[in-house]
Symmetry: D2
Subunit: 315 residues, 4 copies
């Protein structure tokens, strides 16, 4: 990630603000506010603004339950209770806003989370930056054979070189032709004064999906956790997980108590189906139980055994 | 509106906070933060938290349009442009949270605005306050004859007295019976130690719809304006308009530039239908035009004439 | 539940329709379309319209995963896979619309599910029906002592009689005074020709929360299941569970394969937290484990033991 | 647009369904159900399913307003009334589902409409079709000079040829390299049996933004109209307008009364700001009014004059 002089100055200016407010603040998050945290080869995430902290969740829960919350003495106990029982609305009382730079094919996954507010850089109005994602060789995974969606072993040697070469050349060539069509360089300079450039909204279609875009993305704490639960998971594509992992760290800084409850009940937890429960009960009772009789598919069975460390029962 | 000692102390404590933040602040809104602004006889509105200000809208719009926004030199010009062209997403980048105390029948209207986060005081957990809305005599309107939804003249004299008497007595009696069923007074004291109280989630059904409830209500600036456009309008029920008018004032403090654009383009503006445009064009041209030939209903016609001050054309 | 002649005729007319369509249909749901299924003492639920069936979920999933779904040979296998892995968007491809008559205090819970479309009977425009919910004596639960939100034992004898009396009298008296204020009977007849009635939008505030209202409520299949998961649960208030249970039955008729997966993975399933998993693993391994060392609260511990039938470990 | 044999057969099968239903149907929409209506060079739109018709809007409005709607005698009058007064919820009671094939850069605009359900073909699971959008020469517009977002004159002659050549070659080359990286042809055949292919979720990043994707897209009637209002507008990019125009036609078939009201009040209508109203009032009164004194920007002024056919006042 390389920021321009102008960007660096803007960040410095934002960080030098010293405003006085009666609102609650999150001290650990303030420390990294506006900072551009690198992600992938040219991307970044910045926390731009936030509203509320752990105490805001507690405050609104206590409004809901009134005197009913007196028994739960500590804030931490109350937040754990809310998380465990899917009392989700108090978590909607906090809000966060990120500035993210990311490749377009990742942006297309990300945008599927609809309960968020977005302002994306518009390639109808402006020329996109000359930056595209090229995977690190160690992330150049082959298609998984077992799993149609997943990644298998890392591609090595000459084939790896070839892939990287293709990606690089195609991105560079299509970008260069984008400039030709626009009759304008990425820095804004005109190429041929006697020519008209193609409309930006058309020329952009020539770019490859690893071109970087950027946006402001704002969501509430509940929906942030929904996002992280899916995208920081090992089923998620590596390239979006890089962003989700950084955001997990910002979550920890922002609302540390909620973060702990989230890790315990959501990220580290497991769902056991009705049929899975019957299997586990039998195992606990020392009864014999076979996959064939369980009503579980082979994959389901194995995931259950994996989750409860019953490795010898994996088929 | 009468606040308890505990509530007054809580507000004082919140207002005495002096936190330092790198976030943008809205100085005029900070001045009234946490303050309980009275509404109706026992209700209030408090601004509890906010995120962003006018500059946040500009900032995210400039991310979207990139170099494309350079031509619009001033922040105010850009915000007006966005409002006029329904470029709504930049307005979603600001967020505000209110604490509202309001009668249940108004809460039922309010909640229809779905794009908001809500934590309401739960009468399953706790006993509702012994407070109910009784209209001021000057707001005791008769049913409109012309308009099935509206209010007509104010009811006077003995009939007014009777109505107020009925409302007061019924609210008091049902509340008192609510206590009897709960076997508990509103202050939490038990009535008869030898009896069990009815479940709170059941007993509450005996309360009348003018009983006060309260909630935390959080929304983004765009949806706040959608709310205000409908609820600060003269078609809205008086009792919700009282709240909307207070919120309009908080909007002005929070984002003064946006407020101006909102008043110009939304609140003070008029929509003219395709058929209405034909009528206006003819009038401008000095042509004769009759309601019968216009395709407009009588009501539509009159509203158009009213909007453009053509009082002599009202039928 | 008693329907008026007009309502009965309307239902008959709707049910006698025999339209031909190229759309998919759900034969079992067609059988009960428009039928008013009784709920509580005066309420009902009617399925008014629907879109899609189990095959619609499969169809859209196959568009998403393309050739990637070939391996999952059966529709039932694919739907189970989607449910288990929280691939939620295909379930959004089906839609259902209900007509519901329900007490206002239940409507206030129901409306908290925001991802739905609603048209409620408006008491600003029209007079509400003279019908209010009075619990059956066997549902007249006392407040739970253990659980601030729950119900305890059923109230018996004289106290039960008194409660029912109070509820009945208060509802009748407030309704009768509502009529007096409106200067109109529930059947529309004017009471005193020389008087003006109070505006309907005001008079309604005198009604108690057990008065019945009605609405059209439309949602997609995913959000219907989210609703049912919470509201058909034993933590839900009995009065809303009555409706949810009826809706569960309509779900079974509409999309039987999805219904089975829903019961297995959502309703009958259990979430085990990271800490809970450690406890279960130890128990499976025959290790000793104490609540005190587990990081679980007493309540959490007991719920876990309950879920896996470890009754002797309940504390 | 060229459909495969399999696709053509599937459409035929769907269209040959003759199901009997008690639901309302929309006869004109049934006629084109499932049909692939061509859009751009390789895209299409198909109506896959729908729920409700004009009468459903009326039905739910009459539930809301109860006896209050008796005065509006005709369905058409009621629908016009609802549209004019922004009573939006009855329009949410109808739902429609489309199957759309469209270029990725258009899909990225489209998806910004969040209140819809989407299942997109996943390039993580499957190989994308070898089809990319190449504009017709007559749509090869130059960048507008006046408007940063818009299109200017059409590019002609050699430059046009060059642009089309570049777009075609780059799309073909990047697609061919996509196949090389996947070690698989678009028809599924393996290229080199001794090699592993790159993971599909990675290889896709090499494709250009004019590659076609497809999705199922479902929304309610209100949000469909919101979409069409923006995307069938002349400010919208030509390539999305092609789709919106087709959808406008499906709207007309589906709910003809609503379509008329939509064209009159939304599409053909104009919003006049508070300041604009003052200007128009003066013009109607024969008073002199200058842009400089109006508080309107030059662009606003001209748009107002244009809207009301005051061409001689355009500056």
């Amino acid at each position: 990630m390389k920021l321009t002089k102008v960007q660096n100055q803007e960040i410095k200016d934002q960080q030098s603000q010293q405003n006085t407010t009666k609102r609650v603040i999150s001290p650990e998050l303030e420390k990294i506010l506006y900072e551009a945290i690198p992600a992938l080869d040219h991307g970044f995430i910045r926390v731009i603004d936030y509203m509320g902290d752990d105490s805001s969740i507690v405050q609104s829960a206590r409004v809901s339950y009134g005197k009913g919350t007196k028994k739960v003495s500590s804030d931490s106990g109350l937040i754990k209770y809310l998380m465990r029982h899917w009392h989700s609305t108090p978590f909607e009382m906090c809000e966060i806003k990120y500035h993210v730079k990311l490749p377009i094919f990742i942006a297309r996954q990300w945008i599927r989370h609809r309960t968020a507010n977005v302002n994306e850089y518009s390639a109808r109005y402006s020329i996109l930056d000359k930056e595209f994602y090229l995977p690190n060789q160690k992330n150049l995974a082959a298609q998984s054979i077992a799993n149609r969606q997943g990644r298998g072993d890392v591609i090595q040697g000459d084939q790896a070189k070839e892939v990287l070469e293709l990606l690089k050349n195609d991105a560079e060539r299509t970008y260069s032709n984008y400039e030709t069509m626009l009759n304008q360089k990425f820095d804004g300079s005109t190429i041929d004064k006697n020519k008209r450039g193609l409309a930006r909204e058309l020329a952009r279609m020539n770019l490859t999906l690893n071109t970087y875009t950027q946006w402001y993305w704002k969501t509430d704490l509940l929906n942030l956790m929904n996002f992280l639960r899916l995208r920081a998971d090992h089923h998620a594509q590596y390239e979006i997980r890089v962003y989700a992992d950084i955001m997990l760290d910002t979550l920890k800084r922002w609302v540390p108590i909620t973060y702990d409850a989230f890790m315990d009940y959501r990220v580290g937890g497991t769902e056991v189906s009705a049929k899975g429960k019957i299997v586990l009960k039998k195992i606990i009772n020392g009864e014999n139980v076979l996959m064939e009789d369980s009503g579980l598919s082979k994959r389901e069975w194995n995931e259950l055994m994996e989750a409860f460390n019953l490795k010898n029962k994996i088929i």
